[in-house]
Structure formats: structure tokens, C-alpha cells
């Protein structure tokens, strides 16, 4: 018998490929590991003074301490709550305005101009005015996040609606779709990819705005934890805060991307694997 065991060859190939993939994954870790190692050695030999930057080992024990006393969780929850509230409101406002401006000529005329002008204002430049309006309570932080996140969602969703292939409109006419069906079956699904692009920007921006506003005027939140640590030159806690912010940004972006993949399975993805 000289039949070739095709299935076996295929299996072997897959196994080899996964092994290669695993190696590739490991290779990605080399850079960060070297970086942390250099940092640790620098701290241990005194090249990096403690008051400039705490050693990685110190940072880890500081994080452990913060978790043990429950302070990290407490402040993290506050920050998360602010980001979630602000982001939800901002995304909702941005999306609704984009849909109104995208679907109705009157909406476009009334909404788009002001939005394009307001968009030019950096959200953080509003801090003084926001403090005058809301004092230094929760409202300021949430307001700033709302303001900053509404625009990327608005701009991207609006552009997606405007940029829909007019040939689909023609198709809808030949299929005798009603106005409502046109919006539900053609316009909104067609604008979803743009909305998600906006959502990703908005998520990243929400953390950026929160970092700043929590460091300026707050009595809770990760930013407050870091500001407090600054007063006592506790660089280890400051670094913990940085790491937490980084992780939050990373995780929330992954979350949005995961949702995007679930909601838009029809999209051809060109993303490199």
C-alpha cells in the first residue's frame, strides 16, 4: 500500500504550526522581561535611586500592601465607576447625535456645525470652567469624560452614515424598503463599524481624561492615590497607579475589540495575526 496518510500529515502540520505560534508568543515577552530585569538591576546597584523610581520588586510589594489593606480595590472601583458612567453617557450622546445628524437634513444643519466647533476644544481645557460649574465633586470628572468621549463616537458614527455606499440606497429602493426598514437594515448596520472605531477612541480617551481630573481635584480614585503618594515621594505607589491605568486601558480596549468581533462577524478582517 502506498496511500499517503493525508490526515496525519495535516495533524502534524497543525501541531508544528501551533508550536511555532507558541514560540512567537514567547518571543514577544523577551523585550519586556529584559526591560524589567535592567530596571531591577539598576535599582539594586543604586544606579536608579529609590526616590526617582522604585525597584520592580518594591512596586510589587507595594501593590501587595495596597491590595491587602483594600485601598487599591476601593480606589479602583471609584475610578471604574467614573469611567463607566462617563463613557456610557458620552457614547450614548455621541451616537444619538450622530444618528439624528446622519438621518435628517435638519439634524445635520443644527447639530453638525456646533459639534465640529466644540470638537476643536481639548476636553482638558474645560477643567477650570467645569470646576466653576460643578465644584470639585463627582460631576466634574464625569462631565469631562462625557464631553471627551461623545466626540469620537459622534464623528466616526456620523462619518460612517454619511459614507455609506449610495448604491445600497438604490438597492433599498429597488427592494421597496420603507424608511424604517432602510434605517434598520441598511443604515444602522452599515454605520456600526464606524461606531466601534469611535468607541475604541472614546474608551482610550476616557482613561486619559480621568487620569488628569483625578490628579487635579479628587479625594478618591487611582489618580488620587498617585497624587497622595507624590506628597510622600512614594514612587512605588505611583508606579502601581501607572501599571493599573495601563492595564485598565489595555483590558478595556481588548473588551471593545472582542465585542466588535462578536457584533460584526460579517466584516472581512485584514488585521495581522
Amino acid at each position: 500500500m502506498t496511500t499517503i496518510p493525508i490526515k496525519k500529515v495535516g495533524q502534524l502540520d497543525i501541531r508544528a504550526a501551533t508550536a511555532r505560534l507558541r514560540l512567537d508568543r514567547l518571543r514577544i515577552l523577551i523585550g519586556p522581561v529584559v526591560l524589567v530585569a535592567v530596571w531591577q538591576i539598576g535599582s539594586a546597584t543604586g544606579l536608579i535611586p529609590e526616590q526617582t523610581l522604585a525597584a520592580p520588586s518594591t512596586v510589587i510589594s507595594a501593590a501587595g500592601g495596597l491590595i491587602e489593606t483594600g485601598r487599591l480595590q476601593e480606589h479602583l472601583l471609584v475610578s471604574l465607576g467614573r469611567a463607566a458612567t462617563g463613557l456610557t453617557l458620552g457614547v450614548l450622546i455621541g451616537a444619538v447625535l450622530a444618528i439624528v445628524a446622519g438621518l435628517f437634513r435638519l439634524g445635520e444643519d443644527l447639530i453638525d456645525g456646533p459639534m465640529q466647533i466644540l470638537r476643536a476644544i481639548p476636553a482638558l481645557a474645560l477643567v477650570p470652567l467645569a470646576i466653576v460649574w460643578f465644584g470639585i465633586g463627582e460631576e466634574v470628572k464625569i462631565f469631562l469624560v462625557v464631553f471627551a468621549t461623545a466626540f469620537p463616537v459622534y464623528v466616526n458614527t456620523h462619518a460612517a452614515i454619511r459614507g455609506l455606499d449610495p448604491r445600497f440606497g438604490e438597492l433599498a429602493r429597488t427592494a421597496e424598503l420603507g424608511k424604517f426598514a432602510l434605517v434598520r437594515k441598511v443604515i444602522l448596520p452599515g454605520a456600526l463599524p464606524g461606531f466601534f472605531t469611535g468607541l475604541r477612541f472614546a474608551t482610550a480617551i476616557s482613561w486619559l481624561v480621568l487620569v488628569v481630573s483625578e490628579q487635579i481635584n479628587a479625594t478618591s480614585g487611582i489618580g488620587y492615590l498617585m497624587t497622595q503618594a507624590r506628597s510622600f515621594a512614594q514612587t512605588d505607589i505611583i508606579v502601581v497607579g501607572l501599571v493599573v491605568y495601563g492595564l485598565l486601558g489595555l483590558i478595556s480596549d481588548r473588551l471593545v475589540r472582542f465585542t466588535e468581533g462578536r457584533v460584526l462577524p460579517w466584516r472581512r478582517t485584514f488585521e495581522a495575526r
Binding site: 448604491r167 429602493r173 429597488t174 427592494a175 421597496e176 424598503l177 437594515k185 456600526l192
Partner: protein
């Protein structure tokens, strides 16, 4: 059967399509100049013309995609259009694309049947971007047929396909037409395609129908018959293709 779309029209003949003195301009450009066209129910007509001759404009008027014209154009209530691009909504699976604008269980069953008819039964749940060019056009044909149209308007539906796929699509279209019997207006620039598919071929030159000729080919080997060659020459001549270019 035929509903008048513009002004009262004398409907003594049971025509599927009746166009009288159709004029259409885009600004200063006079695209259609007094087109008259009658199509019988179930008739397969091909409309040839060079680029810019106004053939797509005429089709768009009949599809009611373009309503700004003068003259009279009466078309059936149930119309369907297939374009050069399959124009499937990327966010709907193939069957849902076919069912666009249709609702109810009966329509759904018809959609499944029609997909099977065009040979895409196993692609009902596929996303459009996974289809090949020919499969996309077949889905577009299914979407048109599921409406059970009295008039089927085809705007160069095979123009973007490779030669082999196009031949298969010709056979499929002929078969579908024989079963469903809609009146068909096929806009194309492919003379061979027009002769092979249609009962009657029209040539549109500078906004007027300059030639209207019935197609009569022998049953056996129509493509190799002298009638085919003669008609082809005549049509190419009408389209302004010189003998050395044929």
C-alpha cells in the same frame, strides 16, 4: 397588469412595458431622445449600446430609480433589478440578502427555493464576502427572482465576471427565464451575450433606438450558425465597430 406611472396611457395592447417619446437630460446633456419601446409579457429583450449611449439611463427609468424625465413609461408593478455588482449587504447573510424587503414565512420558503434554483442552497447562511463573483451574481439573481417579477431589469449583470463563469451564468439565466417567464430587459455591451440570450436585440445610439431586430437562430449549435455570424456583424456594425476590429 401594467400600471401607469406618469400620465394616462392607452393600454389596449397587453404590453409589459410601454415607453413613448421618452426624453431625459442631465443638464445640457441630452441622454435619451424620444425613445419608444414595447415589450410583451415574457419577452426577453437585450439592449446594446456603446458607453454613454443612454442604455443604463433607460433601464433606470424603467426601474423607477430615475423619475425625472418627459414622455411616458409604463411598467409592471412587480419589478426587480440586478446590477453589474451583486450589491449584497455585507452585514446580512446570503438568504437574508435575498429576502431583503420581503417578509413572512412564505417569502422565506420562496427564498430558500430560489437559492436552490440558482445553485446556492448551501450558501444560505454564508456571509457575502465569502462568495465568489459568480456566486454573488447568482445571489443577486435570486434576490431579484424571489419577488416574482413581471419585469426583470438586468444592468450588465455579468460584466464583471470571467468568461467561463459568464457562460455558465448565461445558461442559468436562460433556464430561470424559461421557468419564471418574466419580461427581461438585459442591458449589455456584449454582442454575443445579447444574441445568445435574447429574443430581440435593440441598439441604442445617441439616445435613440437605432436598430430593433428579432433573433432567430437554429436550435442546434446556434453560436456556430451563419445566422449568428450575420447578426453579430450587423450589430457590431450598428455599434460602430469597423470590420477590421471585429
Amino acid at each position: 397588469m401594467a400600471t401607469d406611472l406618469r400620465s394616462p396611457l392607452n393600454l389596449e395592447a397587453p404590453a409589459a412595458v410601454a415607453v413613448r417619446g421618452l426624453d431625459k437630460s442631465f443638464g445640457k446633456q441630452h441622454v435619451l431622445r424620444g425613445v419608444d419601446l414595447d415589450m410583451a409579457p415574457g419577452e426577453f429583450v437585450a439592449l446594446l449600446g456603446r458607453s454613454g449611449s443612454g442604455k443604463s439611463t433607460l433601464l433606470r427609468v424603467l426601474a423607477r430609480l430615475d423619475t425625472e424625465y418627459t414622455g411616458e413609461a409604463s411598467v409592471p408593478e412587480r419589478r426587480a433589478v440586478a446590477f453589474q455588482d451583486a450589491r449584497l449587504l455585507p452585514w446580512k447573510r446570503v438568504l437574508d440578502n435575498v429576502l431583503l424587503g420581503q417578509s413572512g414565512k412564505a417569502a422565506r420558503e420562496r427564498g430558500v427555493d430560489t437559492l436552490a434554483e440558482v445553485g446556492l442552497a448551501d450558501k444560505a447562511k454564508a456571509w457575502p464576502h465569502t462568495l465568489s463573483g459568480g456566486e454573488g451574481q447568482r445571489a443577486a439573481l435570486a434576490r431579484a427572482l424571489v419577488r416574482e417579477p413581471e419585469l426583470l431589469l438586468l444592468d450588465e449583470p455579468f460584466g464583471a465576471l470571467d468568461a467561463l463563469t459568464r457562460l455558465k451564468m448565461h445558461a442559468l439565466l436562460r433556464r430561470l427565464w424559461a421557468v419564471h417567464r418574466p419580461s427581461v430587459l438585459l442591458v449589455t455591451h456584449d454582442v454575443d451575450e445579447a444574441i445568445v440570450l435574447a429574443d430581440r436585440v435593440l441598439v441604442l445610439t445617441e439616445g435613440r433606438i437605432s436598430l430593433d431586430v428579432g433573433v432567430e437562430l437554429p436550435e442546434a449549435n446556434p453560436r456556430r450558425s451563419p445566422e449568428f455570424a450575420d447578426l453579430r456583424d450587423r450589430l457590431l456594425g450598428e455599434l460602430g465597430v469597423s470590420e477590421s476590429e471585429r
